[in-house]
Each structure stands twice: as C-alpha cells, then as structure tokens.
Symmetry: C3
Subunit: 316 residues, 3 copies
C-alpha cells in the first residue's frame, strides 16, 4: 500500500515523497518499507533511531523524528494504528495458494483440514478435527491431537506433541480505546513459532504476536489450560504448570518453572532457572537467575513462609 | 404440557382448573402460561406479585401466593423444579426444522456443521469444525474460527469475532441436591445473546441461561480462557482479561475492566467504569462507578498497596 | 518385550533369567510381568514387598529388593523409566482393530469420528466434531457435545453429559529432567474412567493416568475450564466449580465441594464432605470430614474471616 494511501485512510496531511509500505512494526524493528507509531512515553526514546518510512505520532512529538521519516500526525496515534492494522491483515484463508504440501509417512485424519499453503513434515500424525491454517508449517515427527487449531502462518517444530483442543495463534488481546470508551481492534499480524521437542497440553491458548513472533523455545513443557499472551518468549526447557497465565510480551529465560495458576504481568523479563510456587503473581522483572519465589505480591519463597507464620500468629 | 400433568410428575395434589404450560421461569418473569418456584428466602417477597400459573413451593409458604396462582406443594421445591426442567428442554437437534438459512457472500468450510433451523447472516466466515446449533442466529460480517461451538438458540451479533475452540451456550452449572447428597440436573433452557462488535478469545466458555439470556453487550472484549456463568450480563465495551471467571447472574455495567484471573461471586451488580486489578476477588456488589480495586477480599487499589507495605514490614 | 531387551535399552547389566514384560507400574501395583522403578525416597519402603519382575533403581538401593526381583541399575532411574515408557505406549490409533461398535438408537453426527475398537452404548447422542479414540467405551444414554475429545482407552459411564470442547484423557504432565535441565517425556499409559451420571462442563481437561486410571466417581459435577491432573480420584457427588485445578494423584472423598479457582497440590487425600471457598489453595491432606475451609495457605473458613478482619485493622 502506498504511504499516501495510508495518510488518506488516517486523514493526515501528506506532502512527502511516496513509497510502498508492506506493514506496521515497532519503532525499533520497523524497516524502511514499514510504518510505525508512538503511543507510550516509554518508547519516545526510540524515535530518533527508527528506520520506519513513517510514524503515526501526536503533533507535539513530531519534531523528534529523524528527517528521513514522515510524520503521520493524529490525535490518538494508538487508535490510528488500530485502524491501519486491518489493512495489513492477511486473508484468513487464501484459495489462490497451492494445496498443502504433506511429507512422507504421515497419518492425517480425513476429518482434519489442512489449508492451502500449509506445509507438513515427515512422519507426522494429525488426528481428527485438527485445523492447520494457510502457510502454517509443521515439522517432522510431530503429533497433533484432535481439535487442535493452528492459525495461519504459525510454525511448529520437529518432535512436538500438541494435545487436544489447544489453540496456536489466536489473536493477541489488542485494541485501542477512544474517549467514548469504544474499542478498535488491533489486527495481530505476527505469528507463533514453536521450536523442537515442545509438548503442549490440552485446552491451551498461545496467542500470535501483533508484530513479529510469540516464541516457545525448544524442550519446553506446557500443561493444560495455560494462557500465553502475544509476543511472549519462553526460554528453553521451561515448565508451565496448569492454568498459568503469561500476559503479553513477557520473556522467560531458560528452565523457568511456573507453578500451577501462577501468572505474570506483561513486558517482564524473568531470569533463567527462576522457580515460582503455585499461584505466584509476578509483577516485576527478575534479574538474578536461579531463585525461588512465592506469593502475590511476589517475594522470596522463604520470606513467604515467614509471612504466613506471622499471619498465623495474628489470629491466635 | 398440561398443569395437571406437571402436578402428576411432581406427585403434588392438584384440584385447580387445568391450563397449558410452556415453560419454567422466575417468580418475577413468569407469565400466565409458565410455572415458577421458590427455594430461596430471598425471593419470598416476589410471591405476592407473581403472574405464574403455578408455583412449586413448600407447604408453609403456600398461603402467600395470590389466589390466581396454583400452589404445587413439595418437600424440596428446588429438586422438584430440577425434575420438571427436563420436560421443557428442547431437542438438542431437530431434523424437522428447515435447513439452515445462509446469507450472501459467506465462506463456510465444508468441515463446519450448521444445524437445521440456524440462520447465518451475510459476509460471514465460518471455518472448519465449527458447530452452529439449531435455531442459532449469526449476524452479518462475523468471523468464527475453527472448532467454535455455538449451542442451539444462541445469538451472535454483527461484526463479531470468535476465536478457536470457544464455546457459546454450554449448560450453566445448575443442579439441586437432596438430603443424600445426590444431584439432579437443572436443564438450562435459556440462551446466550452476544450483541454487535464483540470479540471473544480462544477456549472461552460462556454458559447459557437457565431461564432468559446470558447477555454480552456490544463492543465487549473477552480474552482467552474466560468463564462467564449462566445469566450473567456484561455491559457495553467491558474488557475481561485472560482467565477471568464470572459466577452466575452477575451483572457488569459498561466499560468494566477485569484484570487477568480476577473473579466475581454470583448475583452481584458492578457499577460502570469499575476497574479490577489482576486476581481481584469480588464478593460484593459495587454501587459507585469509576473506581479501581484490587485484592481478595477486595479493597480500593490504594488501600491494597498500603496493606502490602504493612505486610512487608511484618517480615522485616 | 523381553526383560533382557529392556536391560539393553537402559544399558544395564543383565544376568538374570529372562521373562516377558507387559508394562511399567508402581512398586505397589506392579505384577510379576511388569517392571517398576524407585526415584523418590518416599517409596523406598515399598521395595521389599514389590512383586515386579524388575525394578529400575540406583546402585545404593539395589540390596533392598526381594531376591525374586531383578535390579536394573541406572544413574537416574526416573529418566530411565521415562525412556522405557515410550516402548509400552499403545498406538494412538490402530487400523487392525475392528470397526467401532455402536449401540441401538444412537444419534451420531456424520462429522464425528469414532475410531476403530471403540464401543458406544445405546441411546447415545454424539454431536459434530467429537473424537472417540481407540478402544474407548461410552455407556448408555450419554450425550457428548461438539468437539469433545475422548482419548483412546478411556471409559465414560451411563447417563453422562460432556459439554463442548472438553478433553478426556490427554497425557498427564509427566517428564524426567536430567542434569542439563533437559526433559524426557513419561508416556502416560493409563486411562480415565468416568462413572455414571457425571456432568462435565465445557473446555475441561481431565488427564489420563501414567499407570492405572484417573477416576471420576458417579454423580460428580464438573464446571467449565477445570483441570484434573493424572491419577486423581474424585469421590461420588463431588462438585468442582469453574477454573478449579487438581494437581496429580490427589484423591477427593465423596461430596467434596471446591469453589471457583480453588486448587490442590498433588498427592493429597481430602476427607468426604469437605467444602472449600473460592480460590482456596490446599497443600495438605485433610483427615476430618465435613469442614469448611478458605484461603491460601488454607485455614478454617471462620479463621479466614478473622484474619481478614485483623488485616482490615492494619490499614486503618
């Protein structure tokens, strides 16, 4: 889409030279043929180095853009980005794509649907009522149990097991809100990448990224009914016990263990080999590797035990 | 079904004039051709104004009924109502209904099943392994991702998106228990009504009403793995983050925001523009609009921060 | 498989007389044609009475085995058991089995898949996109709503209702971890047994046992989005409200009531007629029947109310 076209959709002034735009991205990751936006003061620092062709921005910040970058000035840049995101959403399915490519020695139920453009590796077992979306890729030796949904563009590695009724690649929970309290969907144009040797339980939801990828690294084990928000990154050999919830953009290091029903806020970084007791509530990043935590608010596990002893005294 | 027939099923004395009964309802909402019941002292006040043709009731309360209303006296009215509920349950599917009506310009997977009597609007996309039940209605421009189940009689508005493996209209968690501790199912003969411009994440459960409707009002956003109990009502533009749980009959005003894993008890009314931090536990109604809460038991968000500071001191 | 073959897979010395082995089991339950293992000091006491043909064991414990039992000495017995478990995993589907047996007067959607070797009773309703695995057994008068998955070998009783998108028999969350932090799957070769008159909500996950059975006894009611770990046993007429989580091997007595979002640790025994308020966190067994609890850590419900009153004073 032409940048002039985008300006017209967003009802912005446009006097720059025109250019073909292929997507939306963060200030940090946008390339010369992408548009970005700034709606959170935390990211203002990224303005001066962005390579984006244009940035959706409020009037007062426009002067901080590099001269190579076109400002698209709007009153609510986050809302404008949401409006624009729809234009870059790929088709849900696309009949013009070639039929799916299936590897050797696969067992695929006649009740499964493999969309056009999908690629299935060798020795895979795909059971009834599975859906593999357009241009999704499944590695070798992977087993997908009934009624799993893999949305378009998502990738699953080799030697993975996905249990029944789990969902890989549903839309992240993204929307802009205006002054009337109405919401506008931000189309989630990224994907999910699951590396090799990952096992995922039943009824799990792993959301696709808004831009880029939600990543589950190799050897990770995810139990039933777990929520992984958009743009999360889960380190190698991590363990998420049942009913864990990860809010968007949180990154776990390798071998992080999260007990049942524990949860994190969004945008955190959790050091490797951290262990969280059941129902921990994690609201800050953790920099030191290898410790054990509990509680909400979170504290060291021994501190938590001490607190419980104090509270027990209170009621005696 | 004749009222005399109902009396015979419930093994009640019956000497009134007979009348055709079409369903069961609350004391407040029952019409002249419906039966009601009273099993909770909270609703005794509704006895005198009920329009129900008959009320299942214990002997000691029967005198409070208006003279136009036939008492059906039983020892355990809630159990009797459960017994009767089965007789008013519609068929799960009904081959005598006409084939589904499909609007113009829809894309419907050949792997989807649209039951007889369903109505699909224009420009809908219905992906593989979706089930749309008997007499369910889907509005225009709605997208339903794979393996979503919409039970019979439920209604989904225009411009909605329902992500994979979510369930609209499963039975509410209703049963009566007798003195031996055995349970008797209360058939859930209501439905779910989802208004326009609602987006629902993956693996969500929204239960149908026991009578009447569970209602999700326009513009609401529901994240993954959320539970909405029977007869809830969610106000316009509300936001339910992942793993939220709403117990039955709770009503949220407009623009209520519930953080991840927060939950409510049943039968509450929550004022508009209330915000609840992650893992809030809400056990009382909230009358004043526009405040922010946290904790379990629930308190003002600032109070909660203060409490955490005090607790931190306890362990120093 | 020959015991000598197993020794070779595990790279153990083997000089005993050979015998045919049909599976892996606990020290307590293993029969003369099964192999067992010991990896947890808690179970060392079971060594002397085991009937297992052979036990995977560390060198220092081998002398405690009865003379009839062959030691299979390895450095990490739990890992070795995981390695071996794969060899006893049945095929996911098996075309050599006879076609499914369907009882009289059933309604089975043409969109459902009933695998070879399954047995369906009389008067069942099986809706679209259901999967019934190999050698699974469904009793009479049972209703299975769309997109339910029943894994192979699982049993569902008479007069049951399973709501949409629930999963019966997904693999328990079992793996061994080595000194590098890598995980090895323990194949879950047991099953799930659901007795008569059980109702299960939507999006529920009930995991199959690693050995033996996960058991849901008659009359139990399970709400939506509940997690039941492998080898749990739920007593008659128990009630699990939405979003409850039971960790593996926990046993509930009859008529236990667990409030919404409450959870248990693994390997507990909960006395009959215990009631847990919403969000209770149960980490110890409960021996006395009939009490009501709340909180995390768990306490008597009245104590919990007292504690909350004290905490409320703290912030005044």
């Amino acid at each position: 889409m032409k940048l002039s076209n985008i300006a017209s959709i967003l009802e912005c002034d446009f006097q720059s030279s025109d250019v073909e735009i292929i997507g939306i991205n963060t200030l940090k990751n946008a390339k010369e043929n992408e548009v970005s936006f700034v709606s959170n003061s935390k990211y203002v620092k990224d303005l001066e180095h962005t390579k984006a062709a244009a940035v959706i921005i409020s009037a007062n910040l426009a002067s901080q853009l590099p001269s190579s970058c076109t400002p698209l000035i709007t009153k609510n840049p986050y809302w404008s980005m949401a409006v624009l995101s729809k234009y870059f959403a790929p088709l849900i399915e696309d009949d013009r794509l070639d039929k799916a490519t299936i590897g050797e020695n696969c067992t695929i139920s006649s009740y499964a649907e493999i969309a056009n453009g999908a690629v299935i590796g060798n020795n895979c077992t795909i059971l009834a009522h599975v859906y593999i979306g357009a241009e999704a890729v499944i590695g070798d030796n992977t087993v997908i149990y009934p009624s799993v949904t893999v949305y378009r563009d998502c990738k699953v590695g080799n030697d993975c097991i996905i249990h029944a009724n789990s969902v890989i690649g549903s839309d992240g929970f993204g929307f802009a809100t205006n002054e009337k309290g109405e919401h506008k969907k931000i189309y989630q144009n990224g994907n999910v990448v699951i590396e090799d040797d990952v096992e995922i339980g039943s009824n799990v939801s792993i959301d696709r990224a808004v831009f880029g990828s939600t990543i589950i690294k190799k050897g990770t084990r995810i139990d039933n009914l777990v929520q992984v928000g958009h743009n999360c990154e889960i380190g190698e050999y991590s363990v998420l016990v049942s009913q864990v919830g990860l809010a968007g953009s949180t990154k776990l290091g390798r071998n992080v263990v999260m007990g049942g029903q524990s949860a994190t806020a969004g945008h955190l970084e959790i050091a490797p080999f951290s262990t969280f007791a059941a129902r921990s509530g994690i609201t800050n990043s953790i920099k030191e590797a290898g410790n054990t935590y509990a509680g909400f608010p979170l504290m060291g596990h021994r501190q938590w035990l001490k607190l419980q002893a104090k509270l027990a005294k209170l009621i005696k």
